[in-house]
């Protein structure tokens, strides 16, 4: 299934498939780039999967908004005692934090099945593997954006007003997407090779929900809780988006953490891809 849009090309370059063609750093990077260029494929597939999830329900895509609103309102009702914040402030805090956490952790859990779930394709088509990654990210980014929009409406209802500093959340979104790629590549490869990874990740994400400042406020905590949260990368990823939206300043320390995770994650994921990618069709 190789893509050659121009059917009239007479002399095409010879393609060579050998042990070298799918190994090495250059070919791992090329795979990511070739996949990115084929946006029409992964966008179409992502949209199809989003529709499929809600296809036979009466309310359809509205369920994204409904289930999110139910969760945010219920949590705020029960847990507003956790913080000394004004109730409106706490709703905003939880609403934004929960959506961001869901998107970031979703990339880890989706990442564990990004290749194994595409096994029919991987075993019978020679499309770049990164297509499945971009499809998976697009599929979770769509509900995330809807949730953020819903959060802003809820917040406005509680008296929140937009401010110019909120625009600083836009680069944070770009950073999220940049990280989503290596996260899915990394977890996709190791979970395809070692099936235990998906189970381990499932167990850890439940713990992470409580050790990440979503239902409680980082600045109000001291001692061990604060220490654990400050080495938890999610704390910092959450902050670079949530703080500007809520009109707070992002501590420089959080940007350092995010930058190191982004660079480190990319380096490790590309390295893994360079040695593991060749074997992928045999693992999934």
């Amino acid at each position: 299934m190789d893509a050659h849009p121009n059917a009239t090309v007479a002399s095409e370059p010879t393609k060579v498939y050998s042990a070298q063609t799918k190994g090495g750093i250059a070919s791992a990077v090329e795979d990511l780039w070739e996949g990115l260029k084929r946006g029409s494929i992964w966008r179409a597939f992502a949209w199809d999967e989003i529709q499929h999830r809600y296809r036979r329900s009466t309310l359809g895509l509205a369920w994204i908004v409904i289930s999110y609103v139910i969760f945010v309102l219920a949590i705020t009702l029960f847990f507003s005692g956790f913080s000394s914040m004004q109730s409106g402030g706490f709703v905003a805090y939880v609403a934004v934090g929960y959506a961001v956490f869901g998107f970031l952790i979703g990339n880890v859990t989706d990442g564990c099945v990004v290749f194994s779930g595409a096994s029919t394709w991987i075993k019978s088509s020679s499309l770049p593997y990164s297509i499945y990654i971009y499809k998976s990210i697009a599929r979770s980014f769509f509900p995330f954006i809807i949730q953020i929009a819903t959060a802003l409406v809820i917040m406005a209802f509680f008296g929140w007003r937009p401010h110019w500093s909120g625009l600083l959340a836009v680069p944070a979104l770009a950073v999220f997407l940049l990280n989503a790629i290596w996260i899915q590549l990394f977890f996709g490869l190791i979970a395809a090779r070692w099936r235990d990874v998906a189970h381990l990740v499932g167990a850890l994400t439940r713990v992470l929900f409580f050790t990440t400042p979503i239902l409680w406020v980082f600045e109000e905590r001291t001692g061990i809780v604060r220490q654990v949260a400050s080495i938890n990368p999610l704390t910092h990823f959450l902050r670079i988006f949530r703080a500007p939206v809520l009109g707070d300043v992002v501590p420089l320390e959080s940007w350092y953490h995010v930058a190191s995770w982004t660079v480190g994650g990319w380096v490790v994921a590309i390295f893994l891809a360079s040695i593991m990618r060749r074997r992928l069709p045999l693992w999934v």
């Binding site: 849009p5 059917a7 010879t14 393609k15 498939y17 075993k123 045999l282």
Partner: protein, 252 residues
């Protein structure tokens, strides 16, 4: 000019200790396709060994061999899906493979939607897909079923749609696994006609099958695979008869 060649292609399927042969060790006699550790764990299976051949424009190559002889694996290597451990494959021309009957089928989406998705996956533009839609619909003879989800289709209907899509975008190299023989006689005749037309346009056809009729009607040359290696090559009719004589003697 379309061109396919394999040079000394070898491939081992790694098993990562998923299997252990009872009471077996690496020195005891065993099926020599299995690669064993000292304690009898199966490390891998030799799927292809030292395969070399060449096919040029107009060649119609049949792959003959028993189940497990490596036909599908070789097709996957030729399609660039699994890279070989040793040797290399050279491909010139747009290649389309139909190795898995369900490839790219989003079973919950309609037949028409699947034409779009498969077309995009083959690198076609949306305009090009719309231009070919009518042809695909006619060839597959699915009519109004194209508006229904694929999961309501029979295996034969899926195969018709898949074959129609795969051959609609003028491939230069067509790689087909044996499931084509699942079609009824009328569809097989139609598929044969389309493949002949395609090979007439200087394409290369590589077809794996157990059906003598299908192979003889569509192919001229043949490769006989046995335990992952080439046992013999030659004219398709003669080679199939030799293969058939031997396998039916074994089963007696």
């Amino acid at each position: 000019m379309a061109y396919v060649s394999a040079e000394n292609v070898s491939l081992v399927f790694p098993l990562y200790s998923r299997a252990q042969v009872q009471g077996m060790s690496s020195d005891a006699p065993h099926d020599d396709r299995l690669i064993l550790a000292n304690d009898g764990r199966v490390l891998g299976v030799k799927a292809l060994e030292n395969i070399s051949f060449e096919a040029k424009s107009g060649d119609r190559l049949a792959l003959i061999g028993k189940n497990g002889s490596g036909k599908t694996t070789l097709l996957q290597v030729l399609s660039g899906i699994i890279p070989p451990d040793e040797g290399c494959v050279n491909i010139r021309g747009r290649s389309t493979n139909l190795i898995n009957i369900n490839l790219g089928m989003q079973v919950e989406a309609s037949g028409h939607r699947n034409i779009t998705l498969r077309g995009l996956a083959a690198g076609q533009s949306r305009d090009e897909i719309e231009r070919r839609r009518q042809d695909i619909a006619e060839f597959s003879e699915l009519g109004e079923f194209l508006d229904m989800p694929i999961e309501t289709y029979s295996a034969g209907m899926r195969m018709r749609l898949n074959f129609a899509i795969a051959t609609a975008f003028d491939p230069e190299i067509l790689i087909l696994d044996e499931w084509l023989s699942a079609g009824d006689a009328a569809f097989k005749a139609k598929a044969t006609a389309r493949m002949a037309e395609f090979v007439g346009k200087a394409g290369v056809l590589i077809l794996a099958s157990h059906s003598r009729k299908l192979l003889v009607e569509n192919c001229n040359k043949a490769i006989w695979l046995e335990e992952g290696a080439i046992r013999a090559t030659g004219d398709v009719g003669e080679l199939f008869d030799a293969y058939d004589a031997e396998t039916s003697r074994d089963s007696r």
